[in-house]
């Protein structure tokens, strides 16, 4: 079973990652910029990196091509942002982690554990009437497990949001994609009805 995530026309899901200097106010700055410019974000995760002076920030957002470009550029413009990368056209790994408490009676417990095993998830806490499950994976994988667990009754859930990194080996570059003229915002007078050109 797979879950289709459907976006409004022209929008696509993108994962952008940025290295930022680890200092107070940075998260507020990034979050404020997203809010002020009206960018829609699904998740925003900040965490430590191998370098104590830097944090990695991972953003998932739904946006059209133009907006996405602005998201990238506006992020890069912020003073504490050292580097920005989006994973479009790259092989990368993304992971989300969820803790899910499912209400389940002792009779149904093994049924649920079977599903958990199929997803290579883990049961990390057991109570008389519930199980706590830990799962990591892509957003889709998590969504699909959630869908299966719903009938049993999900009591509580917490998710970390997506983090992502590029793979060490990248597939050989195909010929560079031709500039898509279609995505360009068209400027013309055709839309303006009855409007004369500049007088000559």
């Amino acid at each position: 079973m797979s879950i289709l995530i459907i976006f409004p026309e022209g929008l696509m899901r993108s994962v952008i990652s940025a290295l930022v200097v680890n200092e107070p106010g940075v998260l507020a700055n990034v979050a404020g910029m997203f809010a002020a410019r009206g960018f829609n974000i699904d998740s925003l995760v900040v965490g430590r990196t191998e370098n104590p002076e830097l944090s990695r920030l991972t953003v998932v957002c739904d946006a059209d091509e133009n907006t996405l470009e602005q998201v990238r550029k506006q992020l890069a413009k912020l003073v504490p942002v050292v580097k920005v990368r989006d994973f479009k056209d790259t092989a990368y790994v993304e992971r989300d982690l969820a803790l899910i408490t499912v209400s389940v009676s002792p009779e149904k417990r093994s049924e649920v554990i079977e599903i958990v095993n199929l997803y290579r998830a883990k049961v990390i806490d057991v109570a008389r009437e519930s199980l706590m499950i830990e799962i990591t994976g892509t957003e889709q994988k998590l969504e699909s497990l959630l869908e299966l667990l719903k009938p049993y009754g999900i009591k509580e859930m917490a998710r970390t949001g997506v983090i992502a990194m590029a793979r060490g080996m990248q597939p050989a570059k195909e010929e560079p994609a031709k500039p898509e003229t279609s995505k360009k915002r068209v400027r013309s007078l055709s839309g303006a009805a009855g409007v004369a050109l500049p007088p000559s």
């Binding site: 990652s17 290295l19 200097v21 107070p24 106010g25 507020a28 700055n29 404020g32 910029m33 002020a36 191998e50 370098n51 002076e53 830097l54 990695r56 133009n66 470009e69 602005q70 550029k73 506006q74 890069a76 413009k77 003073v79 504490p80 050292v82 580097k83 990368r85 990194m165 590029a166 793979r167 060490g168 080996m169 990248q170 360009k184 915002r185 068209v186 400027r187 013309s188 007078l189 839309g191 303006a192 409007v195 004369a196 050109l197 500049p198 007088p199 000559s200």
Partner: protein
């Protein structure tokens, strides 16, 4: 493939054999020494208060010039005017809480127009931050969206580095305001050891942006496009002035034989007495500039950001043009208008690389077309009322100052008329709040400019509404005898609001008519010479009197209240759908409304 594993090298330790630079000094002393020393600050603006007192104590015998304003907003605009006139960062010192919140408007003004300001605000002691202490406000939180970057200094050992970084951030790349929030225990506290003041690498590398032009490939593509074009137009913004590219802009126009239009902030980047000038473009720009943009086949944007007041309806903006965009800020590129050739880098360096590749073209047809437009649709007004026309007053000032004065403005009709009827010839000559449109900007900005450019004639061309917003600065002007000339184009109205109410709201003057004080008497009360001019025949004489007066002077010109700014591109319309207003001026207000064919509901 590795990603993002750029490491930041450990900071270098400074040799301790030198005479201590910071050890044993208070934060206030460190700040003062660094400002007047390595950062060469000559003029500061501000207002004291509890949390910033240690810094003001240090300023008691400062060799720098300190101007005590009467409101922190004025300090901010003064620093802004100083920065716009000189190109050097302006410095403002204010206290915590309400003083810092008063700085929000000037910071946002500077942010929108990319002006370097360093604002140092006092803050309550670090121990009580977050406790709702007296005059405490979350200033870094409040100013985050209206500064390029801000700092809250929580450890005195960071202070020297923060000050150095603030100047780099404010002046590099696309400049902007930076705020340093300085808690009282940091400014009064003593630095315990010698500390490193080297900016961190991610800050230091920002300097490179101003030292590089566009890539070779981009430059060559741009040159090819320009050389191939039949009907090119240069569209020059404030970025060309910031990067000092005005010579190169003129050369490009000369060598490539390209007509040039400037934005409100780009005024003076091109010499408006040059026959290739198209003057200002946009909502109240010249008809010929707007027509030329709509007809051109190649639009060369230099340090401009395709603001909505410039482009009009985006869907019909420059429909035939390939667009080249030279800008130091990558986020400006393709933000609102898709660009064909982006050139990311410093405007001056990019143009220097571009110039040798440009070939001269005759473009006879194009210039002939522009000549016809210019002849048919010049900026104009009619001398058809009992009162002086505001445009006439500006023309007279232009004539008598030989287009050489520094002019500041508030926001509204008078600002647009100044842009249209003064002849801009030099960069940093026209100081106006473009992006944010801050009323009350004119007077304090003029004070800042007068201090930055002593010996220059500085005139604030203001409206009665804008002027009243910061008129308390007369006290500052009188105290320091700052030779600012103030011209109030007084129509007892918020003129631009009235214009829109005339055109789109059936002359319902909701809250736009104002009973004004006697501006001349008010100036005299502050100790500044005041003149009132009611008679249009007296305008030349009064302008002469104003210019020849040694010291500050306020002149209240009573002007025709029913005058509108034209041409006008109504909101939401394309640049070519402008209204010339000739009908409106001749036939009165109602005819003006008809020629728009619009009602209030259809306006954004």
């Amino acid at each position: 493939m590795t990603m993002m594993n750029e490491t930041i090298p450990a900071v270098k330790k400074q040799s301790t054999t030198d005479k201590p630079k910071y050890k044993g000094k208070t934060g206030a002393r460190i700040l003062h020494e660094m400002l007047i020393g390595p950062h060469k600050v000559e003029v500061m603006f501000g207002y004291p208060g509890g949390a910033i007192l240690p810094v003001f104590d240090e300023l008691y015998r400062t060799p720098a010039k300190f101007i005590l304003n009467r409101h922190e907003q004025a300090s901010g605009h003064c620093a802004d005017g100083y920065a716009r006139a000189t190109g050097k960062p302006g410095v403002a010192l204010v206290t915590s809480g309400p003083a810092a919140t008063n700085m929000v408007t000037p910071l946002a003004t500077a942010m929108m127009d990319s002006i370097p300001i360093i604002c140092i605000s006092g803050q309550v002691a670090t121990k009580v931050i977050g406790n709702d202490a007296f005059q405490e406000a979350d200033v870094t939180g409040i100013t985050r969206p209206c500064t390029k970057w801000n700092y809250l200094v929580k450890d005195i050992r960071e202070l020297p580095r923060v000050i150095n970084e603030a100047f780099i951030v404010a002046t590099s790349g696309r400049p902007g305001p930076v705020l340093i929030d300085l808690p009282k225990d940091i400014s009064a506290g003593v630095c315990p050891e010698e500390v490193d003041d080297t900016p961190r690498p991610h800050i230091a590398k920002r300097l490179n942006a101003s030292l590089t032009g566009g890539s070779n490939k981009q430059i060559h593509e741009a040159a090819e496009l320009i050389n191939r074009s039949q009907k090119p137009v240069l569209y020059v913004g404030g970025g060309a002035i910031i990067s000092g590219a005005w010579k190169e802009v003129r050369e490009l126009s000369e060598k490539g034989n390209i007509p040039c239009t400037t934005t409100l902030l780009g005024m003076g980047a091109f010499d408006e007495l040059n026959p290739r000038t198209l003057h200002m473009l946009g909502m109240h720009g010249s008809a010929y500039a707007n027509y030329a943009v709509q007809e051109c086949d190649c639009l060369i944007a230099i340090g401009a950001r395709f603001d909505d007041r410039v482009t009009g309806n985006l869907a019909t903006f420059a429909p035939h043009a390939k667009i080249i965009h030279i800008d130091i800020d990558p986020s400006s590129i393709s933000k609102t208008v898709d660009v064909d050739v982006p050139v990311v880098g410093d405007a001056k360096l990019s143009l220097q690389a571009l110039l040798p590749l440009i070939e001269t073209r005759e473009r006879k047809g194009w210039f002939e077309q522009i000549r016809v437009w210019k002849e048919k649709y010049p900026f104009k007004y009619f001398d058809d009322s009992a009162h002086a026309k505001p445009q006439y007053v500006i023309e007279e000032i232009n004539r008598q100052t030989k287009s050489e004065a520094i002019i500041t403005t508030g926001v509204g009709q008078h600002q647009m008329w100044a842009a249209q009827f003064y002849r801009w010839r030099y960069p940093r000559q026209f100081l106006t709040s473009g992006g944010l449109g801050t009323m009350g900007f004119g007077l304090p900005a003029a004070v800042g400019a007068a201090l930055g450019m002593p010996g220059k004639t500085v005139i604030d061309i203001d409206g009665d509404g804008s002027y009243l917003m910061t008129c308390y600065e007369l006290a500052t002007i009188a105290e320091y005898n700052i030779p600012v000339k103030v011209v109030i184009l007084n129509n007892d109205f918020q003129g631009m609001i009235k214009q829109w109410q005339d055109l789109f709201y059936e002359q319902r003057y909701s809250q736009s008519k104002m009973k004004n004080p006697n501006f001349a008497a008010m100036a005299e009360a502050f100790g500044v010479k005041g003149i009132r001019c009611d008679d249009k025949k007296m305008v030349p004489k009064v302008v002469d009197q104003m210019l020849s007066h040694d010291g500050p002077v306020v002149v209240d010109f009573f002007v025709e209240p029913n005058e509108h700014v034209y041409p006008m591109v109504p909101a939401g319309k394309g640049l070519h759908e402008l209204t010339l207003g000739v009908v409106a001026n001749a036939g009165g207000v109602a005819a003006g409304r008809e020629c728009f064919g619009l009602d209030a509901g259809s306006l954004a």
